[in-house]
């Protein structure tokens, strides 16, 4: 007989052997191994139970799986139960002995005792696999309609786990499961709703059919658990069924107003926030309730409210209670709880606006000084500021100062981001540069440096400051001699610079050289000193072990040796660094279309046409596009600019599409600056005073260049879905529709002139929506008065469907034709006219002729042709110049053919409105392109889209390729004799 230890004895033993428990437990396990092999089932069962206890302490029991199954199969509930317990603790769906359990489940499901079946179901929910599920599905189905609510409830809940393992089972069970929604037992009902909730989380659409039943339950239940589950289901369903939110208003309001359970109330608020449309009364009620949660003394509720507010702020734009929220969030940020703090920071990120941004940043900065883990705060500051290209920042000088303060923290993981923003702001905001350069100098030249001989800002910031100092030295406060000197000194002399990484050293060297190159213009008296400084300091960099530092230092040294200390010759070198830098999109290079194909000839040789001359700087031609952009950047007017005195403000000509700054504002900003107080030691404090002074003198207006420079020929990514409208192109003034209709009404053409009568036609604009085109027809008598012409009809080909036509065609004149008939309309189905070319529609003209003498009328039938101009069925295609050039470069196969024409006009005063009128009549979208301001020439681009394909076609019509466009460019050249208009049409076919 094996010695048998009870569970209590074992637990007591473990507790008694504190210190060497594992030894004792090993001994126990050896014992259990013997007990498991015993024939006595209660011994075996106890052994399994003890093992189950030991697994909690971290001991493996995988070796005993077979014994567990054996114990599960015993007849007595008392011995069986530990087996089920152990298997649900330690088995998974992968356990191979799991298949042995199938018969046990079958047996126990049919047991007399509901507890035996219940225990089995509990275990099944844990260890079920697809194989087990397939074998016991019928047993489960019968359990679903068991007479015992206890078992129905367990089965319904267990089924969800089974569906996960064996998805086809859902189909089998669905009808019976759905019936459970009408179960009279509350527990079963809750369980069923629960299972449907989990199923709806996987695929809500499938359960829309249950809405009426679920709604009925929601309205009638008082059960909190059930209400919460239902509210969750409705959150999932209401986005899929537009009528649902309106239905839910009443029960939700009811719950919000009456429930005493906070979990139900919270769930109802969440349901309202997620499923109700903005602006409804119930949303206001829910937000009001949420407010009380936010002010609750329970920190769990506060956290949940904050978390939900994130969704509220995102979904509802109304800012009613935001002021209050803002304070609340700021206090929550201070909470020691990291979870709350993180949520609060995320929320702050969303609710901040320019009016409270400064306050928020100040608070964050304060917390970051106090907290040990302050990166979160700094990260939030940077993220908020950078959003939408600094949309929140109103005072850039202030923000730069903040960045300066942050950069004092040497080991922040955001150091690189701080430096990046520092530079980026200076590049984008010209007005802040004077302040920024002084700040940069201050940051580099801290007094602390003299004492500790180390720079007290983080390395990336050193590089950023160096770059700023070099690039915008012209913005240093005048007189800038001292600043130039100290700048160059700090960049070159401090020993700590040489301890920094190679890239930063290179930056510093080059910045110093740029100071030297700029010195004759801004601080002529210090040329000699700077030159001397360079010559004395650079050699130590030349000896640097970093190759690129050495190389850059050598280059700088050579420049210094070449120009010497001679201000005159140095003046000529300023061209080296004269070009201003603009913000460049990070992916600008990637946007340049790869258009150069080595096999492609550079110039497509076209047949010489007498009237054709190539148009200069054609924007639709990718090769010559560059020249237009050059014009935008002012290269065409380069000679003029060279004569004008150079100044940084004019570095970007105001005609450029990327220029946003105004030079007069900048001047105002400069004037507003006060000289700094030299006594203050800390440069940041100094800069802070300066900021104050600047503010007192009237805050400068900052303008941010939010556009990035993209490469020529690349399409700028449209911001916020808008087609970017650059200042250089303008949409042609297409006359209003009424004017066009009037014009069209005057354009009558003769389509038949015969022996007896003439037919005139006027073609109106097609109705794109109805796909119809209206023709107006008129007849005129030409024959002698003794002949009587009557009953004129026009018979259209069968494919061209005419609304007003009857069997004999469209009657133009009923009865006899007098001098001229009145206008007759015919609405033609325009769908079959697919081909954007001149098209002749063959019709038959039928009429009766009767001479005065003869009795009988003679029927006449003549073929006539209605001619539709090529542009009749085009549709104006609103595009910008850039999208057109994009189209031209990407869809060159659709623009394979080109025709050209030149016309001469008398000079007209308003050519653009004339072209606009033509474009309107011919269904084009027109834009006017910019040309250099000197010339009086004008350029226009007209775009029209061909009809989309349709099923019906007419004889002689073919479908055009999808997306094909017809592009016309017109160049109006001013000649002494008059105006020459050159029109080139590009399309997929002649």
């Amino acid at each position: 007989m094996v010695f048998e230890k009870s569970l209590t004895a074992m637990v007591k033993g473990i507790r008694a052997h504190r210190g060497n428990e594992s030894e004792y437990i090993q001994a126990c396990i050896t014992e259990i191994q013997k007990e498991v092999a015993s024939k006595n089932m209660s011994t075996k069962s106890m052994a399994v139970l003890k093992l189950a206890y030991l697994t909690m302490l971290g001991y493996d029991m995988a070796w005993a799986t077979f014994a567990v199954v054996e114990v599960m199969g015993t007849n007595r509930f008392a011995t069986k139960r530990p087996g089920y317990l152990a298997s649900s603790i330690s088995f998974t769906d992968q356990t191979d002995v799991g298949l042995l359990t199938i018969n046990l489940f079958k047996k126990d499901f049919g047991s007399q005792s509901q507890y035996e079946s219940g225990t089995a179901i509990n275990c099944l929910s844990n260890i079920c696999s697809a194989e087990i599920s397939r074998d016991i599905m019928t047993d489960l189905l019968s359990l679903l309609s068991s007479s015992r609510a206890y078992l129905r409830k367990k089965t319904v809940l267990c089924l969800y786990r089974i569906f996960l393992k064996d998805p086809p089972a859902l189909r089998t069970c669905f009808p019976k499961l759905k019936d459970r929604l009408g179960d009279e037992d509350q527990g079963v009902l809750t369980a069923t709703v629960n299972t449907f909730l989990e199923l709806a989380r996987k695929n809500a659409r499938n359960y829309l059919s249950l809405v009426p039943q679920l709604y009925h339950i929601l309205v009638n239940t008082q059960n909190n658990w059930l209400s919460i589950k239902l509210l969750k289901v409705f959150q999932l369903l209401s986005p899929l069924e537009p009528r649902l939110p309106a239905k839910l208003v009443e029960p939700l309001t009811n719950i919000l107003n009456t429930t005493k359970a906070q979990s139900v109330e919270f769930e109802a608020i969440r349901c309202v926030v997620r499923s109700m449309p903005e602006g409804s009364a119930i949303v206001a009620l829910a937000i009001e309730k949420l407010q009380t949660f936010l002010n609750s003394s329970d920190r769990n509720l506060r956290f949940l409210a904050l978390d939900l507010y994130k969704e509220v702020v995102e979904k509802f734009k109304e800012k009613t209670s935001l002021k209050d929220l803002h304070d609340k969030v700021l206090t929550s940020i201070e909470e020691p709880d990291l979870t709350v703090r993180r949520v609060a920071l995320q929320l702050l990120d969303r609710i901040v606006d320019p009016s409270n941004f400064q306050e928020a940043v100040q608070r964050l900065l304060e917390f970051s000084r106090k907290a040990t883990l302050n990166d979160e705060f700094i990260g939030t500051i940077l993220r908020m500021a950078a959003r939408d290209r600094y949309a929140l920042v109103e005072d850039f000088a202030w923000y730069l100062l903040i960045l300066g303060e942050i950069s004092r923290n040497m080991d922040s993981s955001y150091a690189a981001t701080v430096a990046e923003q520092f530079v980026d702001i200076c590049v984008r905001v010209p007005q802040v540069r004077p302040y920024a350069v002084t700040l940069a100098l201050g940051l580099l030249d801290t007094p602390a440096e003299a004492e500790r001989d180390s720079i007290s800002v983080c390395t990336p910031m050193v590089a950023a400051c160096a770059w700023l100092l070099g690039e915008y030295s012209g913005d240093l406060e005048k007189p800038s001699e001292a600043a130039f000197l100290s700048g160059a000194k700090v960049l070159l002399t401090s020993r700590s610079i040489q301890a920094l990484d190679a890239a930063t050293q290179t930056q510093c060297i080059w910045a110093a050289s740029k100071l030297y190159l700029a010195v004759p213009e801004h601080a002529p008296s210090t040329v000699a000193q700077l030159h001397e400084l360079l010559c004395s300091q650079l050699p130590s960099f030349v000896r640097s072990t970093h190759l690129d530092v050495s190389e850059r230092a050598r280059l700088a040294l050579n420049i210094a040796n070449f120009y010497k200390a001679d201000a005159q010759s140095l003046q000529s070198a300023k061209g080296l660094v004269a070009e201003q830098l603009l913000p460049v999109k990070p992916d600008a290079q990637a946007q340049v279309p790869v258009s150069v194909d080595l096999d492609e000839p550079f110039f497509v040789i076209e047949e010489a046409r007498p009237s054709f001359m190539p148009v200069r700087a054609d924007p639709t031609d990718p090769y010559s596009l560059a020249s237009t952009y050059k014009d935008d950047l002012g290269f065409a007017s380069e000679p003029n600019r060279a004569e004008a005195p150079q100044s940084t403000a004019q570095g970007v000509p105001s005609s450029s599409m990327y220029y946003l700054g105004k030079s007069d504002e900048r001047a105002a900003a400069e004037q507003a600056q006060e000289p700094s107080v030299p006594e203050v030691k800390d440069p940041l404090a100094q800069m802070r005073e300066r900021l104050e002074a600047q503010r007192n003198a009237g805050a400068p207006k900052y303008q941010v260049m939010r556009d990035d420079v993209t490469a020529p020929g690349a399409t700028p990514t449209p911001d916020a879905g808008q087609v970017p409208s650059s200042s250089s192109t303008a949409t042609l003034p297409i006359p209003p529709e009424k004017e066009l209709t009037d014009l069209q009404g005057r354009l009558w053409t003769v389509c038949h002139r015969g022996e007896h009568l003439a037919v005139y036609v006027c073609i109106r604009s097609p109705n794109l929506r109805k796909r119809q085109i209206r023709l107006e027809l008129r007849c005129e008598r030409l024959c002698a008065p003794e002949l009587l012409v009557s009953d004129v009809a026009l018979r259209f080909p069968s494919a061209a469907h005419v609304q007003e036509a009857d069997a004999s065609g469209r009657m133009l004149v009923v009865g006899s034709l007098q001098e001229r008939s009145s206008k007759v309309k015919a609405n033609l189905d325009s769908a079959p006219f697919l081909w954007p070319g001149v098209f002749d529609l063959r019709c038959e003209l039928e009429y009766l002729v009767k001479s005065a003498s003869s009795e009988a009328a003679e029927a006449q039938s003549l073929p006539i042709q209605l001619r539709f101009p090529a542009t009749t069925f085009l549709a104006p295609q609103p595009m910008s110049e850039d999208t057109i050039s994009d189209y031209v470069s990407s869809k060159s196969d659709l623009l394979g053919h080109q025709t050209a024409q030149a016309l001469s006009f008398e000079k007209t005063a308003d050519l653009s409105s004339l072209v606009g009128r033509c474009a309107g009549l011919c269904h084009f979208h027109g834009i006017q392109q910019a040309v250099s301001p000197q010339s009086q020439d004008m350029k226009f681009l007209l775009v029209g889209a061909v009809q989309p394909p349709s099923a019906a076609t007419l004889e002689g019509q073919r479908a055009a390729p999808t997306g094909a466009l017809v592009i016309c460019r017109c160049a109006a050249l001013v000649r002494p004799s008059g105006l020459e208009l050159r029109i080139t049409v590009k399309a997929f076919q002649q």
Partner: protein
């Protein structure tokens, strides 16, 4: 849906572990270690929810025991806490002023009670009386 329930003592000892989603034992131990170190280190002043991997942990301390429920992102945290409390109340009524030692020596009873309250991670019985009734009916069978 609850993914797992853990009862951890202040010393970091597991008193009950129940996974409702199949999980290999090795991962269970790793999770227990990770979760208990997370929760035991939280100050009593902070809130009872924390995000962990893709889940949320809702926990509450009763005397020397931490009751931890791991729920999914879109579950109701308050409901999870209520569920935990419901479990604690059932234990309390069953053992009569329950303490940690009761759960150590009768760990299987705690499991049986839990099995009457939760199945496949969902609440099946919200009435304490019904739970105790079912348990007391099963007790004589043992």
């Amino acid at each position: 849906m609850i993914n797992f329930i853990l009862l951890i003592s202040r010393q970091g000892k597991t008193r009950l572990k129940k996974w409702f989603v199949p999980c290999p034992e090795r991962d269970q131990f790793r999770t227990i270690k990770e979760v208990s170190s997370l929760i035991l280190n939280r100050s009593p002043k902070v809130c009872n929810f924390l995000e962990w991997r893709d889940y949320k942990l809702c926990y509450k301390r009763y005397a020397s025991l931490f009751f931890i429920a791991c729920i999914e992102q879109n579950d109701n945290e308050l409901l999870a806490l209520e569920m935990v409390h419901h479990f604690v109340e059932c234990l309390d009524r069953y053992f009569g002023n329950v303490c940690e030692l009761d759960l150590i020596f009768n760990f299987h009873k705690a499991y049986y009670i839990l099995d009457e309250i939760l199945i496949s991670g969902e609440l099946q019985e919200s009435s304490k009386r019904a739970v105790l009734h079912h348990i007391s009916e099963q007790d004589p069978l043992i």
